[in-house]
Structure formats: structure tokens, C-alpha cells
Symmetry: C2
Subunit: 496 residues, 2 copies
């Protein structure tokens, strides 16, 4: 179950990301942050998050929660079921914050730290109820990246860990329980190793920040967005498997392939050189522009993986299914849920997938027909046609399609499609589909289609089963009242 009321202590890049993820999932959030600019900064993260979420999914999210600034930690945590601490990485500061939180919070509120490296047992020192303090370490941007590392250490209550695992999954995340506490947990150990190596490469003049970024994002970065280290090497080992991989690369462990036996000193000179290389690499973009580029790329990648039901895409898919289930449950609880057949049927809602666009970032021609085909499939499912019907050698085939293009739509934009039944008999269904833009409802394209019921073995037309025809009847009766679309019954090149 989702929490209703949360508190965030600290509203910087990470705290702001938490606030956005919570609010977009319908949770009310009270925030304490002493920064006089906190309101502006959090509002900017919220704007980024809303922009990204609108592109990420069209699934029915609950109504947005509210967030507000509180004037003290005590006021922020009052009544909160979840309290997220994202203050700077100084242990004594965190201890002070927990003392203030515990003095005002209900004893069963979960207290989750966003720390990148302190162990829960360090954080829990001196707490009144140490068992409900744990680490929930997210990754920037918190509103888009699914991973959150959950670490309880030896003192956290098993129920607190369990509660956290459910809670973060409900927020669309992938909670990873780090079973043994360790400084920097799992992911940051890798980030720290790569970071130290990168500092050496720059210090020694081997590579610039841009060359290092390119070495990552054109190569192994693409691999790691979908498989991690070990699955990648499992595949690379080929038929001979992991052991072959070790035989080949094991000896490299003794070669001087990393500088990490030593820690680079972060001199002013090194910091200056990194900052100026980074300016040369990306100074032409504002930070806001870079945030949008990053978010658009992450959305596109996660959606691409959703198509393959894999990794972060599978997490998104599961999250959407959960949102649809909840919305459906909410709908069927309302007694009015009788469908309105006096207008075209809502066939589908989706967004223009990243691989649906041409070089102009316009939805490509053939994808329109794919969406129209999906509309017909939605109608078939509604009529009760399923795999067992097909298995009997019965199916509707499209014999004819007339498409009219009216307007363009760009990648990742939301679209929906409707279906109007023009006529139907025992063997034929004559439909008119329309694709609209999801926000401004403008018509993008229409398709008139003739679908023929066939015996697929004999490869000839035959009447559909009586239950199918019966299911068509109420739609046929209701849609007979709808005006005939202007584009129906027209041939190519016919003037209006």
C-alpha cells in the first residue's frame, strides 16, 4: 500500500527528486530545508519531473499529491508515515537531524536516509527506535531511475525492510536489498572505483572528460543499461561460458590495468582542469538543457526496454500494470461504470515509441497502420476472439485499408485511437479508426478498413461464430446513430 503522507528533510537534487516521485504518485509531502531558495529549487525539480513523467507513461496515475515547506523538522514529520532524510554527508549532522525527527515523529514512521555511503549502524547510533532507521539510497534523477538500494544493517527490524521493499516498488522503483552493510553499499563502490580511475586518467593527461565520457557511452555504457557486468561476460564467454572468460581475462588481474592501488590527490589544479574540460565539452548547454537531454534519453531508453520487457523496461511495465489495476479497481467501485456506446470506442492509448519515428522525428507512415491494426485487435478482443478461436482456424483478415494523413506527431508524444463501426454482417466488419493527439486531441490520421472473417485453413470467407455476431450487435445499433465520417467511402485523390 502506498503511503499517504511523507516528510522530506533536505530538498536538494536528491531530496527534490524524492519529493517529485512521491507527489507524482499521489503522496502528500511536507518538506524541511533551511535553504532560503528551497521553494524555487524544488519547484524546478518538480517541473522537470512532470515533464519527464508525462513522456514516460500514459498509465493512469493517482491525482497528484501536494507538497509544502514546513518551518521545522518537527512540523514536517508530524503525521508522516515515511520520513526521507537527504541532508549533506556529515554524520554528526545526520545524528542531529534524527534526534529532531524522533522527538516529533510517530514511533512507527519509517526513517530512510538517502546517504551515498554511511552504514545504517553508523546512522542508528543514539537513536530511540534504531530498528526503523534504514538507508534507501536512490540515483539521480530520482524521479526516473528505478534503482534504490535498501540497507538495514544488523539493527534494522525485518518488518522495516519488508515495508520499504513494498513501498518503493509501489512508487515504480526497483528496490535492491543489500543484505550485508558495507560502506558505499554496492553501486557506489563501482562509481567510486570508476571515479578514482577517471581522476588518474585526467591527472596523467591520458584523456579529457569528453574522451572519458565517449569511452563509456559509446561502448560498455550501452551494455550496462540492460545487462550488468556478469550477464554481459556470461554472453561474451560464448559457448564455453564464465570459466572460459576467467581463463582469458583472469591473468589481467596481475597486469597494471588500473591505478587504483593508490588514491589520486584532489589538488586545485586537478579540479580546475576537470572543470574547464567539462566546460569545453558541455558548456554550450545550460544545466537545464542538459537535464532535459538526460531525461529524454532516459525515458526513451526505458521505453525501448519496455518493448522488450527487460530490466528497467520491465519495471516500468509492471508499474503501469499496477496503475491500470488500481485505476480499474477504483472505477468498478463506482456504480456508474456502464460503457457509453454513443461515441466511437476508445481502442487504445499509447505514446509514439522511439523506434516509430523517421529522421525528422515524425511518426513514420507504417506505424500508423500498426496502430490502426492494434485498434482492430482491440475490437476483436472485445468481441471475444482469443487464441482458442484462432486455434480453430477462424480469424478476421484485413482486406482493404484507406488511410488519410492529417497532421504530424513527434516521438514520445501521447496518442490515442478510437474505432467507429460503420457496418457489419455475418462475414464483414467495416470500421473507421481515428488517431488523435493525447493532449490537444487534434486528429492525426484516420483509416477505413474492411475486415473479412475467414476460415484460415480453407483460405475462404465464412460467417463468424454467433457469440461474436451477438457482441457486435449493440455496438452496431449504437454506432448507426453516429454521423458517417467525411473521409469514409472516398477513393484516393477524391476532392472533398
Amino acid at each position: 500500500m502506498l503511503v499517504k503522507q511523507a516528510a522530506c528533510v533536505g530538498g536538494g537534487v536528491i531530496g527534490g527528486g524524492w519529493i517529485a516521485r512521491l507527489v507524482l504518485n499521489g503522496v502528500n509531502v511536507a518538506v524541511f530545508d533551511p535553504d532560503p531558495e528551497a521553494e524555487r529549487k524544488i519547484s524546478e525539480v518538480m517541473a522537470n519531473a512532470e515533464r519527464a513523467f508525462a513522456k514516460l507513461t500514459l498509465a493512469p496515475r493517482p491525482p497528484k499529491g501536494q507538497w509544502r515547506l514546513a518551518s521545522s523538522i518537527a512540523e514536517a514529520v508530524d503525521g508522516a508515515e515515511l520520513i526521507i532524510e537527504s541532508v549533506p554527508e556529515r554524520l554528526e549532522l545526520k545524528h542531529q537531524v534524527y534526534r529532531e525527527i524522533e522527538a516529533a515523529a510517530t514511533p512507527d514512521a519509517l526513517i530512510a536516509s538517502s546517504t551515498s555511503g554511511y552504514k545504517p549502524s553508523d546512522l542508528q547510533q543514539g537513536a530511540t527506535h534504531p530498528g526503523r532507521i534504514l538507508v534507501a539510497h536512490p540515483f539521480n534523477p530520482v524521479y526516473l531511475l528505478p534503482l534504490v538500494e535498501i540497507i538495514g544493517g544488523p539493527n534494522a527490524a525485518a518488518s522495516a525492510i519488508e515495508h520499504a521493499m513494498t513501498l518503493y516498488a509501489d512508487l515504480g522503483m526497483k528496490p535492491l536489498n543489500v543484505r550485508q552493510e558495507i560502506d558505499a553499499f554496492i553501486a557506489d563502490r563501482f562509481l567510486e572505483a570508476v571515479w578514482r580511475e577517471a581522476l588518474w586518467l585526467i591527472k596523467d593527461g591520458v584523456a579529457t572528460t569528453e574522451e572519458i565520457d565517449d569511452a563509456i557511452r559509446y561502448g560498455f555504457g550501452l551494455r550496462w543499461a540492460q545487462m550488468g557486468l556478469f550477464d554481459t561476460y556470461r554472453v561474451a564467454g560464448g559457448e564455453a561460458g564464465m570459466k572460459h572468460f576467467f581463463a582469458q581475462f583472469g591473468p589481467c588481474l596481475s597486469l597494471p590495468w588500473t591505478k587504483l592501488m593508490d588514491v589520486p590527490e584532489l589538488t586545485d589544479e586537478l579540479v580546475d582542469s576537470i572543470a574547464s574540460q567539462s566546460d569545453a565539452q558541455s558548456g554550450r548547454y545550460s544545466i537545464r538543457e542538459l537535464e532535459h537531454i538526460r531525461d529524454d534519453n532516459l525515458v526513451a531508453i526505458i521505453q525501448a526496454l519496455r518493448g522488450n520487457d527487460w530490466g528497467a523496461g520491465a519495471t516500468l511495465k509492471a508499474y503501469e500494470e499496477q496503475l491500470y489495476t488500481r485505476a480499474h479497481a477504483a472505477q468498478t467501485q463506482t456504480p456508474t461504470a456502464q460503457e457509453d456506446l454513443s461515441k466511437p470506442l476508445l481502442a487504445l492509448e499509447t505514446s509514439v515509441q522511439p523506434d516509430w519515428v523517421d529522421y525528422n522525428n515524425h511518426m513514420t507512415e507504417s506505424r500508423y497502420l500498426q496502430v490502426f491494426g492494434d485498434c482492430s485487435d482491440a475490437l476483436f478482443r472485445r468481441l471475444g476472439i482469443d487464441a482458442s478461436y484462432h486455434a480453430r482456424g477462424l480469424s478476421y483478415y484485413t482486406v482493404e485499408t484507406h488511410i488519410m494523413h492529417v497532421d504530424e506527431v513527434a516521438g514520445l508524444e501521447p496518442i490515442y485511437a478510437t474505432t467507429q463501426l460503420l457496418s457489419a454482417d455475418e462475414k464483414r466488419i467495416h470500421v473507421f479508426h481515428r488517431i488523435h493527439h493525447g493532449r490537444d486531441h487534434r486528429l492525426l490520421a484516420s483509416a477505413e478498413q474492411m475486415l473479412l472473417h475467414v476460415d484460415t485453413k480453407a483460405q475462404k470467407a465464412c460467417p463468424a461464430d454467433p457469440p461474436i455476431l451477438a457482441a457486435l450487435e449493440p455496438i452496431k445499433t449504437a454506432h448507426a446513430e453516429l454521423p458517417k465520417p467525411e473521409a469514409a467511402g472516398r477513393h484516393v485523390g477524391e476532392r472533398k
Copy 2:
């Protein structure tokens, strides 16, 4: 300019990937590999690569090159302009191979090593022409990942580096010139650092292979597929920039956040534990299935990034533009006088791609429209419409399409398509495409289309350029003699 003839010494996972990338780009490749199973293994990599490339891009690749096994290094390198060495990582073996290569190769052939870590100056030791030996270090799968690190070291000729940078870009890759030679170059230093840290985490029982993979692919792996380390941190620093980032995370360098001060010992126990964790994680998939999952994910991610013209997607986009430009140049070099305009134009010949079919193994509806769209594109290219024409904001848009389905076709079957010009004026082209089976010539489907010439910035119709209209003229005159297709000018449901 692309090379015509290459040699690959070593045809394992990496060598096989090189062979596939070369062959799919029209290069003939002679291969030497003493493995008695080399032919089968390379054929399997080729099948994977063809499958992935077919999904990656529909741009017109040159006719596939041929690959063949040679019985010796001397035979393989004979006449080759590019010689790729991908033999196991043992320096004395590589030296022996280079001696054999140099004895038989032309002195100006480029010799490129796929080594993951040996410096060019190590490899060049004892060579007759050390200046043309360099490292071109790719990433698995070589046929999909764009990155290739080009390292010449102090002895390589500047012209050899320059040649390599052009050559690999022509193969659709992102060559990164590593200016200073260093063991393991750039990318593998990071991989090695992460690998060592991962071995510690497993050895200490902190995480399993699956937990480590999840910590990567649900979090920073998604970031690194599109931005690298420094751009990511530049954005994370927020308004305060890189220096703020250093102020916050600099002190962590002195914390025990990585174990990399020490190298883990690769005991049999550790290797066994990794192998069995990896089996538990992914043993339910065969290696072939994992390869397909990986390739499908990489294709989807690269295509997603192409939509945003960013990173690996920008590389793909540039590659496709280059392929279209070359195809266009090849076409305009062929004298058109020989062509028979008294029948519909042959627009394309292809086969039904594996991902074009539905659960019945029939070519799916939307793919017909994709092929019809390719027919129109072929006509546009023939009329002289290229990227520079589009860049001026001029283009033909499809406004209307009427498809008639006549027969089914199964996956991998050959098909071809023709285009008949029904009429044309300054702004409009009215065409009739037909898709036929490639062997028995039966008609599978037809499409009547109206194409409108538009000013894409103003989003309104405008006359095409005079040279375009002039190129239309002879086709228009000749096709006026052709009988009007029965299916043209018909609306949906019209009886014959």
C-alpha cells in the same frame, strides 16, 4: 573510402564480430583461424549480426561482402587493405602472427589489433613496418556497439591513425583516438576497476552476481548509455556546477569506499562461486537466447537515442545518412537510358524479415505499408531528392493510401515491389505500388498513394524544384501508356 578486401586473423567472439561488421558493409573478408570449428562459429555470429542489423536499420547497405576461410595467414592477408588481428592475449603469440602477416601482406596494409590491453609499442616490437601497426579495440558485440579505441603509440604513422579514424567511421562506428598509449587504454581501465571491485563484493559475500548486475542496470547503467561520468556529474552538481560536486564528494576519496587498494586472488573457490551464481541468475536462457536478448535491447536503445540524435543514436543516424548518400551516388552513376520505362519501375527487392511476421508467420499488416513507403522513397531518390533537399525544408509527404490485400507471404520469403506513376503535377505524385512474391510473381498486395510536395517549415504544399519535375517527366510520359490498375480509384468496400 571503404576498404574492399580485409583479412581477419582469429575468428572467435571478437574476430567473428569484426567479420560480420565488415561483410554487412560490403567488404570481402578472408579469415584465418586454426580452430576446426571456426566455420560454424563464425556462421553463428554472422546469423546473429544479420538478425540484429535487419532490426537496426533499413538504410540501403551495399551488397553483402563474402567471407571465406583461408588455410594460412599468408593466404588470408594476400591483397588485404585492412588486417585485423584478434588472437588470444599472449604477446609472444601476437608477435609471431605479425611476423607471418608482414611476410605476406602489402607494405601499406593497415594492421589493427583487437587487444584489450597491450600497448601498440609492445605489439610493434620487431616489426618491419611498425608504423602501420596499431590497436583498434572494439567492444562485444562488435557488429552493434559503436565504440572502437584507436591507439597508435609513439611509433605509429599519423597517416595510419587518420586512415583508421575514417575507415571505422565508414563502418558505422565511433572511433576514439586514445592519444597517449597506456595499458588497457581508457574503457578497459574502468571495466577492470569495476571487475576487481565486483570480485571483492562476491568474495566477501556482500552481493551475488545478480544483485551486482541489478545495481548496475537499474541505476547508473542507464545514465552511462547516454552520458558518461562527467556530463552526468555536471548535471548532478546542479546550478553550482562541477566544483560543487567536488566539494560534496571530494572528501569521500579518503573513505574506504572501494577495496581497490588491493587485488583479489582468483581462487578456484571464488571462480566456482561466481559461475554458480551466474547459472542461478541466467542459466534458464541458452547463450544464443541471451545474445538475442542483448542484441534486441541494444538495437532498441540505439534506436531510442537516434530519435534524440544523441550519443550512439547520433552515430547510427550519421551512418544511415552516409548509406543513403552512397546509394544515391551509385544510382546516379548508372546510365538511366538503358532502363525500360514501358513497365512499372522495379522499386525494391528484399525478403520478409524475421521480425515482420505475426504469430501465424504471415507478413504483418503494417510491414506492407513499410514496404510501400520504401517504394516511394526509392522513387524520391531516383528523382534526385536527398538529405540536402530535405535540409532545405522540402519533402514529399504521403497524404493518402489505399491498400488492397490479395495474398499472404511467410517470413524469409523473397518479395519485390514495383511502382507505376498514375499522374503527377507540380505538387502531387499519384502512384500505384504492387508487392509480388519473388519466386512465383503472384501479387500479394497493392497500394495507391497520393504524395504531396510540402514546405516542411511552413507546413503547406508547394511546387517541387524544376529538376525533380523534369526527372518525373519521362516516367510520366511512358507510364501514361500503361493500363490503369483495376484497384486504382476505388474506395473501401467497392465491388469490382
